[in-house]
Amino acid sequence: MTLATVDAIHRARRINGFDVERVRGDFPILARKVHGKPLVYLDSAASAQKPRAVIEAMSRFYEEDYANIHRGVHFLSQRSTDAFETARAKVARFINAAKADEIIFTRNATESINLVAQSWGRKNLGPGDEIVLTELEHHANIVPWQMLRAEKGFEIKVAPIDDTGQIQLDDMAKLIGPRTRLVAVSHMSNALGTILPVREIVRMARAQGALILIDGCQAAVHKQIDVQALDADFYAFSGHKLYGPSGIGVLYGKYALLEAMPPYQGGGDMIDRVTFARTTFKEPPHRFEAGTPAIAEAIGLAAAIDYLAELGQSFIADHEDDVLAYATERLAAIDGLTIHGTAAEKGAILSFTIAGAHAHDVATILDQQGVAVRAGHHCAHPLMDRLGVTATARASFALYSTRAEADALTDAIGAVKRIFKL
């Protein structure tokens, strides 16, 4: 290639709005070395790295505006409250909620789902009722329902996946019936990358009068989410996978539903008036936010959302799709390697096993070459049982991932094969 063509490609990238090398410069941690090798971070589905914009927004907030919220009349408390509520409004716009009050801040997606189980579920589920999950759910969308089932005696139905790791709508249709009160499904599988046909699933749930909860922990990172277009009743995700800080999560709920739900934790900030005889509760979302929340983390999440908006979510999605397609091609060419999850609709996750080498040995050997992947059951034991494996290795790609990193992964897998003589 001549310098002129290289330059033209670069210019085209910028016009396209996405220049991955420039973007990588926004993430300080990507410059570090691991075991003397450049870091190749392919574990963003577990938690994403943070851009400087997020780190700085949080330290600036602590240095200039920090105080507790909703409680003081003093200047800093006002500043802090405003910043927190502005973050809520930003999250609402990010997923196109009808209003900011439909956004409840939690610790993470796990807590968001537990909130629905403990508040809505405890009030509305009982003997004779059914809820429908899928075989590829994260434990976060299984265990809260089992815990409640032990108390309330409703039934849990599980929609199977096919060999590509996708849900078949016919199977789903068989399970959703007049007794179904709730359908709770992942939007995108953290273990396989499968993107589920949630619009169709929502329609099926609606037709039977059931509510729908979508676990958007992975999908919110890779897709533009519009909760109104989806017609979701509840939508849950975590800040830390979205390039924001850990310690902050989101539960979206339709306002009319939230209004009818009882609080599930009691304390300060969530009450209207307390006497020892009787306490009245605030309106949503505050009713569900007992105690001092993760204030700086909400502000960090808002900064992450701004950052994504600046880059353009559709450019990010195109970029990730490109890296995923390239990595899939490279890994598929490796003898003895099986890719788990081959659905037509997939996000940037590549789960694999290598015949003759256990996923943990693979991950240790990759790590020594600076390549960070997750190995294990991905908090999805039932899915692993379905796949007939105890563990897989998982490479996940983010907005800062590159084709060169997919090459590094491929080379590192070569080292696994050399060590294990495969």
Binding site: A357, H358, I365, I419
Partner: protein
């Protein structure tokens, strides 16, 4: 990469790929089930203790990485003919080696081959996230030895 060759030595790869004493002997009278919650590895250890309190036979079944399978396989070889006290001593030495307390691992009474093999397995201490892979079988064995009823172990 040189470090990796220390961990994945020939003998580990060999036992990982072709584990010895793999199976469930019918005469086993001490058994325990071990589970590593972090990675999902499982193991069942089967010991046959004779009338004099010696381990006449040791075997295992399970699923896991090369380190955990090799560790279980090599352990069963080391156990044969040992008394309960010997077996417990081996467990303590292995635990000390893998967790970086070499000074507490009393290897003086062990034959050279056993001590060497334990040192090889203990190469895992360079990889803190993997120590439990090597120690799972040993925890499970120790629990099995100390009880006549079937035991469950989680590490």
């Amino acid at each position: 990469m040189s470090d990796l060759r220390d961990l994945y030595q020939e003998v580990i790869l060999d036992h990982g790929k072709a584990p010895r004493n793999f199976g469930h002997p019918s005469g086993a009278n001490r058994t325990a089930h071990g589970h590593n919650a972090m990675c999902g590895d499982t193991i069942d250890v089967f010991l046959t203790v004779d009338g004099e309190g010696r381990i006449a036979d040791a075997a295992f079944e399970g699923q896991g990485c090369a380190i955990s399978v090799a560790s279980a396989s090599m352990m069963t070889e080391m156990l044969k003919g040992k008394t309960q006290a010997d077996a417990h001593h081996l467990f303590e030495a292995m635990h000390a080696l893998c967790t970086g307390h070499e000074d507490e691992a009393d290897l003086a009474n062990l034959d050279e081959d056993t001590a060497d093999r334990m040192q090889i397995l203990a190469g895992v201490r360079q990889y803190p996230m993997r120590v439990k892979c090597a120690t799972l079988a040993w925890h499970t064995m120790d629990k099995a030895m100390n009880h006549t009823a079937k035991q469950d172990v989680s590490v």
